[in-house]
């Protein structure tokens, strides 16, 4: 499997007053196309820091990182944006849909930033993929939490990314909606060949991924490939 993300000796320090906090302390990770990887761990273990680094939202203090074949360590903020554009799709715990845009317009928003043409037919295709084609003209406040998260996934998919990053995507959802979202991620990895990287507190969901990385105190303490029944 060709690695889309490859990190070696990844470290991230923060200054908190006079103290230096090691949020991540030497992590090696490799994620390939069509692979779904869960990152588990207690609060403060470094899950979000790791996912931020791997998705080029933040720059590592030390270590090497390659994303979609391009070196990502030591880049400036603007260079990181260029690396993300069109390669990475994001889903967060907070959906952050624009309340004055319809579902379809929210999905098309990233294309505006990328300067790409917008085709409503394609948008509807993506929405049908997440099961919301009949909600295209609705406003976000007319949707349930699970539906809003699916719109956020559709929005991430609109740019046809190679990597999908989801930070606690089920954190604000009930169990049923969370299950639906997780199933969707599995399908995206399997059917669209996306590398899917997820952080979650929900161990049961996390163990449905192809690989599970468990972090503690900024280090990987366990890496497993759950057996499929």
């Amino acid at each position: 499997m060709k690695p889309l993300i490859e990190a070696k000796g990844l470290k991230r320090y923060y200054r908190r007053g006079v103290e230096t906090v090691k949020a991540l302390d030497g992590v090696d990770v490799s994620i390939g196309e069509g692979e779904m990887v869960s990152i588990l761990g207690p609060s403060g273990s470094g899950k979000t820091t790791l996912i931020n680094l791997l998705s080029c939202l933040d720059a590592p203090s030390e270590g090497t990182l390659t994303v979609a074949g391009k070196p990502a360590a030591g880049l400036t903020e603007d260079q990181l944006v260029e690396l993300r554009r069109g390669t990475l799709g994001f889903v967060f715990q907070q959906f952050h849909l624009l309340p004055t845009l319809t579902v379809a317009e929210n999905v098309e928003l990233p294309l505006v930033f990328l300067g790409r043409s917008v085709e409503r037919r394609k948008t509807l295709e993506i929405l049908s993929w997440v099961g919301l084609e009949d909600r295209a003209s609705h406003l976000p406040n007319e949707l349930s939490g699970g539906q809003m998260q699916r719109v956020a996934i559709a929005r991430a998919l609109s740019i046809e990314p190679r990597i999908l990053v989801a930070d606690e995507p089920t954190g604000n959802l009930d169990k049923k909606s969370g299950r639906m979202i997780f199933d969707l991620f599995k399908r995206l990895a399997r059917e669209k060949g996306l590398a899917v990287l997820i952080t979650t507190h929900n161990t049961a969901f996390g163990y449905e991924a192809d690989r599970v990385i468990t972090l503690e105190d900024g280090r990987i303490v366990r890496e497993e490939r759950p057996a499929r029944t």
Partner: protein
């Protein structure tokens, strides 16, 4: 949604502004109010200067000779027909008439009389005053050839009074309207003769009514100069000499002034000098109002900056997501900057429209606060004034939007998303 990028951003900016409608409306109203004040003030400055120009041009004189006194008083006397009345010896007329530089000359005697409360604007109890101008129609009409007698029903056989007549008068357009007088009607006025203890109630006959001129002549009661002097018991005095010079330029005017300033009781006032004096009279007040308008605009701009900053703060998480999804610094900057621009543009359009609609109200308000000494419209809101207002406030909007836009565009996506989640 396949519009050019700027159009898409403009649409997005509009949608964002719609999220907080009350805040947006209040911010636009703040800008509109400031622009309205600015436009009204600009219109007043322009209109007032125009009104002074018009009023002085309609005096028909290039130069006036009057009794020595305050130049401000002289200026108001020229336009209002005289309140601070000082008198010249009547023989000044003959002396000046002999000057070779004079093309035409007309003597004017001005007096103020108390009229009866018959006018439509007079209160039941309060007395009202009217300006009586004693003139020689022959020489006066050379200066003011546009003065025409009204014709039609009620004004048939209208004419100028006979020079030797003692009770014939011609009413200016507004004087006749307010007094509800037509040709052939009587007109009563109480005159206080100089040096006499008792005022005299006089009855006059209206022999003519003038067409509207838009000048102080509209409110004036004209009568033969000889009769006016006698009525006010100033048989050897006059108020103004209106003069046209054969060759009028600043050099000739100065020569003329120097010749006649040797008379101890005389001041020579040139048309340009009066204009400058009158404009100078209100320049200080205008500067103060301009300062108030500038403060209003500044406050409105601070309101815009505050509203946009609040909006940026509320959308921190969204901005973080947009950046994560591929928005560059410039994209976010444009988006927020456009929102500021739209607020200022909308405000300036609403304010300009309100200023145009409310110009009449502003004019009435200014006139009720101060007697500006000119007739005709004093608020002139031209397309140029409106263009300056819209362009000016848009330019200020561009400036005001810089900080919020910079702040939004400088957010790191990681921090913005984290902050957004904790809000």
């Amino acid at each position: 949604m396949n519009q050019p990028i700027l159009m898409r951003y403009t649409t997005l900016a509009f949608r964002n502004l719609r999220r907080r409608r009350v805040r947006t409306a209040l911010t636009v109203a703040g800008v509109a109010l400031a622009v309205m004040v600015g436009v009204a003030l600009g219109g007043f400055m322009l209109g007032y200067r125009g009104a002074i120009d018009r009023s002085i041009d309609m005096l028909g004189f290039q130069v006036m000779i009057m009794a020595k006194g305050c130049p401000y008083e002289a200026a108001t006397m020229m336009l209002k027909g005289g309140t601070g009345l000082l008198y010249l010896p009547a023989d000044t007329f003959d002396k000046v008439r002999s000057d070779q530089a004079v093309e035409s000359i007309t003597p004017v005697f001005v007096g103020v009389a108390q009229k009866e409360g018959s006018g439509i604007r007079d209160g039941a109890k309060e007395a009202a005053f009217t300006v009586i101008s004693g003139v020689e129609p022959a020489s006066y009409l050379v200066m003011k050839p546009w003065l025409r007698l009204k014709a039609g029903a009620g004004f048939e056989n209208g004419r100028w009074f006979k020079p030797e007549s003692e009770d014939e008068i011609v009413l200016g357009f507004e004087a006749a309207e307010y007094e509800q007088r037509k040709v052939g009607d009587d007109f009563y006025a109480t005159i206080q003769p100089a040096g006499k203890p008792d005022a005299l109630r006089r009855r006059f006959k209206v022999v003519g009514v003038l067409e509207r001129t838009g000048t102080q002549d509209d409110g004036t009661v004209f009568m033969p100069i000889r009769a006016a002097r006698l009525a006010f018991n100033r048989p050897n005095e006059l108020t103004i000499l209106g003069i046209k010079l054969k060759d009028f330029n600043s050099f000739k005017l100065r020569e003329f002034e120097n010749r006649w300033l040797k008379l101890p009781e005389v001041q020579v006032v040139g048309l340009q000098q009066v204009k400058t004096t009158l404009i100078g009279l209100v320049a200080t007040a205008q500067t103060m109002i301009a300062a108030v308008a500038a403060i209003a605009i500044l406050v409105a701009l601070l309101g815009v900056v505050n509203a946009i900053l609040m909006s940026v703060y509320e959308r921190t998480g969204e901005i973080g997501i947009m950046k994560a999804l591929g928005a560059r610094r410039g994209d976010i900057f444009q988006l927020v900057w456009l929102e500021t621009l739209i607020l200022c543009l909308l405000g300036s359009l609403v304010g300009s429209a309100a200023a145009v609609v409310g110009a009449g109200v502003v004019e009435r308000a200014i006139r009720s606060l101060a007697d500006l000494g000119v007739s005709g419209s004093i608020v002139s809101i031209t397309p140029k004034v409106l263009a300056y207002a819209v362009l000016g406030s848009t330019a200020l909007g561009c400036f005001a939007g810089l900080y919020p836009a910079w702040r939004a565009s400088s957010m790191r996506p990681v921090d913005a998303i984290r902050e957004g989640a904790s809000q």
